[in-house]
């Protein structure tokens, strides 16, 4: 959903298909689906199946953005300090990567 491979209002595979693919109990998949319905990432169409909420991608991206610093940047800075990579070098590298992409 975040990458856009699964679009809004698109149907997702059934619990049985997920269970067979991951070799897990279908009730476990159903629980996960239920959780995603509660988080409004999926919605249910009675008798048809589960669909991606049109708002799912934006909501997930917002969540991931909020967690980006604690999940990605903070551990990177901690690792850089532990192994002795100066922060200036990291900043320079990020600028370099960003500039290359922008060109």
């Amino acid at each position: 959903m975040v990458s856009g491979a699964l679009g809004g209002d698109e149907q997702v595979m059934s619990t049985n298909q997920y269970a067979a693919y991951y070799r897990i109990n279908p009730a476990t998949v159903a629980k996960a689906f239920q959780q995603l319905v509660e988080e409004q990432v999926l919605y249910k169409k009675r008798g048809i199946g589960m669909f991606v909420s049109p708002t799912a991608r934006d909501a997930l991206r917002t969540q991931r953005r909020e967690r980006f610093f604690s999940d990605v940047v903070d551990p990177m800075v901690a690792e850089a300090k532990a192994v002795g990579v100066p922060i200036d070098e990291i900043v320079a590298r990020i600028r370099q990567l960003d500039g290359r992409k922008g060109r």
């Binding site: 269970a19 067979a20 991951y22 070799r23 897990i24 109990n25 279908p26 009730a27 476990t28 629980k31």
Partner: protein, 294 residues
């Protein structure tokens, strides 16, 4: 329709030995249960009573509300596959044993049995007793699945199978369960490999019920707390600690239960790593003589 199983105050004695002691639990129909316990904990005894192979010394076992022992209306619908195979005489050829099962089992699906025999490359003309070690468990699994019994019990039926066969059987078991929902109990020592198949686990120890819970709920109850020894000690004080290990100044403690989101945040803020615990590790420490007491 799926059948539920209700065990109340079950006791089983062999002479002076009490194999099962005051077991009480209820299994809702149509689910896959994992039955876990150490060797000698009573798993095989329990499954034998549920299948009606043995008579309870005290207490009751009801399947769909009916007593099991010497009640063909129920035992017909219960299929127990023991580790030893139970699929026929050693001198029976695989094909003949299949033929016999077809007569004994009201729900038998012959086409499915044939497909499984082909898939697992079991030679039909070979005698059951002459199958190779790796092939010996396969007929049991095939009989257990193709019987389509509303209550299907596998007692260590994976024993002797190699990893690819076990994986293939897990796939078959799941897909057949989804196509034909029934109540399944699988006893095994291959906890981490098979637990993803279980909706609930039942752990027995010394013939008594240790716990019954949804598999993911049980797994979520354990956590490994790792960090500087003093910080770990402070965090786990007053909690149930199943195991502690120390390497230099770093300590790791396995805690059980009582961790909510706020506790997890506290741990992270204290510089502690919180990791998941494999179900098998939880099992090992819950069933140790000192386990669960800490």
């Amino acid at each position: 329709m799926t059948l539920d199983i209700e065990v109340t105050g079950l006791q089983l004695r062999y002479g002076d030995v009490t194999a099962l002691d005051d077991l009480t639990f209820r299994l809702a129909g149509g689910r896959i249960y994992g039955l876990l316990g150490r060797n000698g904990s009573g798993k095989t005894s329990l499954l034998s009573v549920v299948a009606g192979f043995r008579k309870a010394s005290a207490g009751t076992v009801l399947v769909a509300g009916q007593p099991v022992f010497e009640n063909p209306r129920v035992t017909r619908r219960v299929c127990l596959i023991r580790e030893t195979g139970d699929t026929g005489d050693k001198d029976d050829r695989v094909g003949d044993a299949l033929h016999t099962a077809a007569h004994l089992r009201p729900g038998w699906d012959g086409d499915y049995a044939d497909a499984l025999v082909d898939r697992f490359e079991i030679p039909r003309r070979t005698k059951l007793g002459e199958l190779s070690l790796g092939q010996r468990s396969a007929p049991g699994m095939i009989f257990g699945l193709a019987a389509r019994a509303p209550v299907t019990l596998f007692d260590e039926s994976h024993l002797g199978m190699d990893a690819p066969s076990r994986a293939a059987f897990s796939d078959e078991l799941l897909s057949d369960f989804m196509a034909h929902p029934r109540t399944m109990i699988i006893s095994t020592h291959l906890i981490d490999e098979l637990s993803p198949l279980f909706e609930e686990v039942v752990i027995i120890d010394n013939g008594r019920l240790l716990l019954q819970d949804e598999t993911d709920v049980l797994r979520a109850r354990g956590a490994d707390v790792t960090g500087p020894a003093e910080a770990v000690d402070r965090f786990v004080a007053g909690r149930t600690v199943l195991r502690e290990r120390q390497l230099g100044r770093t300590k790791s403690a396995m805690v059980y239960g009582g961790l909510d989101e706020q506790h997890r945040r506290q741990a992270r803020d204290a510089g502690l790593d919180l990791g998941p615990v494999a179900l098998q590790d939880l099992f090992v420490h819950l069933t140790q003589p000192s386990g669960g007491q800490g």
